[in-house]
Amino acid sequence: MKSSISLSRRQFVKTSLGGCLSIGVGTAVPSFLANALGEQVKQDENILVVVQLTGGNDGLNTVVPFQDDAYYKARPKLGIAAKDLLKEGGELGLHPSLRGFHELMQEGTASVVQGVGYPNPNRSHFESMDIWHTCLRKDKKRSDGWLGRYVDQNNGSLSEDVPALHVGGGKQPLALATRNVRVPSLNKLTDFQLQGNHQEVIEAVLETELTSPASEKGGLLDFVQSSTTSAISASKRVSDAVQQYRPEFKYPETDLARKLSTVAQLINSGLKTSVYYVELDGFDTHAEQVDTHAILLRDWSDAVSAFMKDLKARDHADRVCVMTFSEFGRRVAENASGGTDHGAAGPMLICGGKVKSGFLGQTPDLTDLDDGDIQHQIDFRQVYAGILRDWLHVSPREVILGQFPPLSLFS
């Protein structure tokens, strides 16, 4: 519990600082406080949230070409009847579980990028996932991931708050592997708050310590001091945010929703992290796929739409882009166990206030398959490049390790 003393001190600081600034007297403001205030005001950086669907999502039953006879021919048992699909005009319909996502599309804040993959698709989960994570094939040394490179290369311009966060337990995705800057994983929000009985003493002592004249400029102590300023201010913001946080919309009771709600709270706290990464596992549907897939897609869609609604209510929707991908799509033809096997290209799903809404790319041609799989028409690196260039505002080339024409995703 946070005591009223702390809150009132904080209130006082806010008010008095506001007063100072408004009459143009800013010099007397201790840097520790000015910093905390500055970070509260400046919240205009764009944020990328990556949602990984682990196991290979059946793209063809996610976004269904219901006017194509070849679809129903290949999927006598698994094919979803046209009348059950959620339609957006045109020749494509969404899986009935995607009600939330469908609403986002109708609002103009979501898009489907069709037929995303890469040449010579690898059908191993691990290998394909590694390719998506690193933009490199097995013959190359893969010591960092694409988001890791983004973080490393832009370290100077990113803030002292952690540049990227993996939200969830378990192994950190290779996409976030860096060479220099560490990317933390966080399971609970309390990991990001100073705990215990002495937090106020620590905060107070640090305020004194940190307002005393800086040590050797640019030296190690100076660096730890400024990092501590960020840490304490992040902790305060997260604590305040958690305390004041009332979800505008009830999130579903699922693991993914819990993670995204955590991300929403962190964004809302003003944390200057620009990349968040969450996973939803279970998409490897080789048998009895119908129910499993319906549940997974509902979990995803409900969680993402609650997240977007929550962000919108707090005025953050326009600076957040949610990118959802899976390591591959599945075979066009269903198998004998009521499931589908590992395939190749699949759709990527993009949500966000500034997203160019609708269906991007050509609807996959189910008569022109590569070894029974949908051929890719858009390289996943084109999607990355579009996000890097137009959303995160960095040059994509060194991050995706090659030249791919960026896909225009934002309006």
Binding site: A177, L186, I202, L220, Q225, A231
Partner: protein
């Protein structure tokens, strides 16, 4: 900034002789113990003040060859957790060892090699393999670098980690060959892609089968190879030997040792570390003579070294506890270290931990503070088996006013600002003499100060 341009390398690595300008004090002894181990208790420092730095370092190195009794206890503990199949418990067993070892230099070097030959249980999974590698690193921690690389080249955990458990004649696996040159011995720029391919051929036929290393002679490519200017029908050991014999090897290792023991910054020039490289070469790549030279050098006790490192999470937490002879919940400490960015047996990549500034960000700093808080407020945590108040009584410390400077001398590189001292005392009132909560609270608050993270 730490400017080394005007320092003569030859003088820098000469033995430190205490003088009026830089006398041998308990603060300087504490510096040695922090760097060569994980900090010293007050009793250890009192003992150290009576000896010369040279004598202390010699004793530390000699110790790494004894202390069998403690090793047996710590080994047994590790062995008992292996059947659980959970490598996380192994991490806690190492914490136990770090807290209790009578031979901190050996553990410090083991940790150094763990970061150097980085292998993660996240991928290897099998705790026995991880434990055996850990023992290999410990056994060779201050031994011969050449022998260590030869042994690690056949280490099951390492080869599993680098996907090199099967090296077939028709498809030589370049992964291990590359890392031996890039990360273990030479560093980038000291070999070519062709050297990697040729060395990979030397390793053909090397396999891990049933968790054991073996050579499959049917899969070995016995034809001629050409590596780093040498040509012959080399096998794996000969290939590794060629790499080890390169001049770049002692250079690569000495640079990393200086960064580990002396200062995080700046990048060191070849000229600056040349005297150490000579020592390593003259001693047939033995590690102990270089470590000893570093820890007894003028440079090590200079202002370019004291306070010029950021504590790793292990140094931070284990150091705090060892200075107070503390014991506590090892599982919780191991988990906390993971949160703070240094999970034992879980390095982030084959490159190990970069250290220095990369230890620090909002999340790791909060993880450090919260870990210290959890352990200090846990009643399981004892100080030489006692409450903190009773423990401090042995040193005639009763009040916060006495505790602050005392603890500062043990754990920090510079005295605290009196204003900070006063603020801590004012805000953590002691209701009575030896108020356990206040004393623990003071340690917790000091451990959260920015300067506390410097070593």
């Amino acid at each position: 900034m730490n400017d080394l341009r005007n320092i003569d390398p030859n003088t820098a690595w000469q033995p430190f002789v205490p003088s009026a300008e830089i006398p041998w004090t308990d603060r300087l002894a504490a510096h040695l113990f922090r760097r060569a181990g994980f900090g010293a208790s007050f009793a250890e420092l009192e003992e150290a003040a009576k000896k010369s730095p040279d004598q202390i370092v010699s004793e530390m190195i000699a110790k790494s060859r004894q202390e069998q009794e403690f090793r047996d206890v710590a080994d047994t503990l590790a062995e008992t957790v292996i059947p659980s199949g959970n490598a996380r418990s192994l991490s806690a067993a190492w914490v136990y060892r770090l807290l209790r070892t009578p031979n901190p230099l050996q553990e410090k070097m083991t940790l150094f090699w763990h970061g150097h030959f980085a292998t993660s249980a996240e991928k290897v999974k099998d705790p026995r393999m991880m434990w055996e590698q850990n023992q290999l690193l410990r056994k060779n921690a201050l031994g011969n670098f050449g022998s260590l690389v030869q042994a690690i080249s056949k280490d099951p955990a390492m080869l599993v980690y680098l996907d090199s458990t099967s090296n077939r004649k028709a498809h030589p696996n370049e992964n291990y060959a590359r890392e031996v040159m890039e990360l273990f011995c030479l560093g980038e720029g000291h070999y070519t892609e062709v050297d990697v391919q040729e060395l990979a051929r030397c390793f053909t036929g090397w396999e891990i089968k049933n968790h054991r290393f073996r050579k499959n002679r049917y899969q070995h490519d016995g034809s001629e190879k050409s590596i780093l200017g040498k040509t012959g029908e080399f096998g794996g050991e000969e290939g590794v030997a060629i790499v080890i014999q390169q001049e770049a090897t002692p250079q690569f290792i000495c640079r990393k040792l200086v960064r580990f023991f002396v200062c995080d910054e700046p990048e060191l020039s070849d000229e600056f570390i040349a005297p150490l490289v000579r020592t390593m070469q003259d001693n047939d790549l033995e590690i102990a003579p270089v470590v000893s030279q570093i820890l007894t050098s003028q440079f090590f006790y200079s202002k370019h070294a004291v306070g010029r490192k950021i504590k790793s999470p292990v140094e931070f937490m284990i150091g705090t506890m060892r200075c107070l002879e503390a014991s506590g919940n090892t599982q919780q400490i191991a988990e906390g270290l993971m949160q703070a960015g240094q999970g034992l047996f879980y390095p982030p990549s084959v490159k190990g931990w970069d250290g220095g500034r990369t230890w620090i960000n909002s999340s790791t700093l909060l993880a450090r503070a919260n870990l210290a808080q959890r352990i200090l407020n846990d009643t399981v945590t004892k100080f030489h088996g006692e409450n903190l108040g009773d423990y401090l009584r042995t040193y005639d410390i009763d009040t916060p006013i006495q505790l602050i400077p005392w603890f500062n001398r043990l754990t920090m590189t510079a005295p605290l600002d009196p204003i900070i001292e006063k603020q801590i005392i004012d805000r953590i009132p002691a209701n009575e003499a030896r108020d356990e909560k206040s004393l623990r609270g003071i340690v917790e608050v000091i451990a959260a100060l920015p300067a506390y993270h410097l070593a």
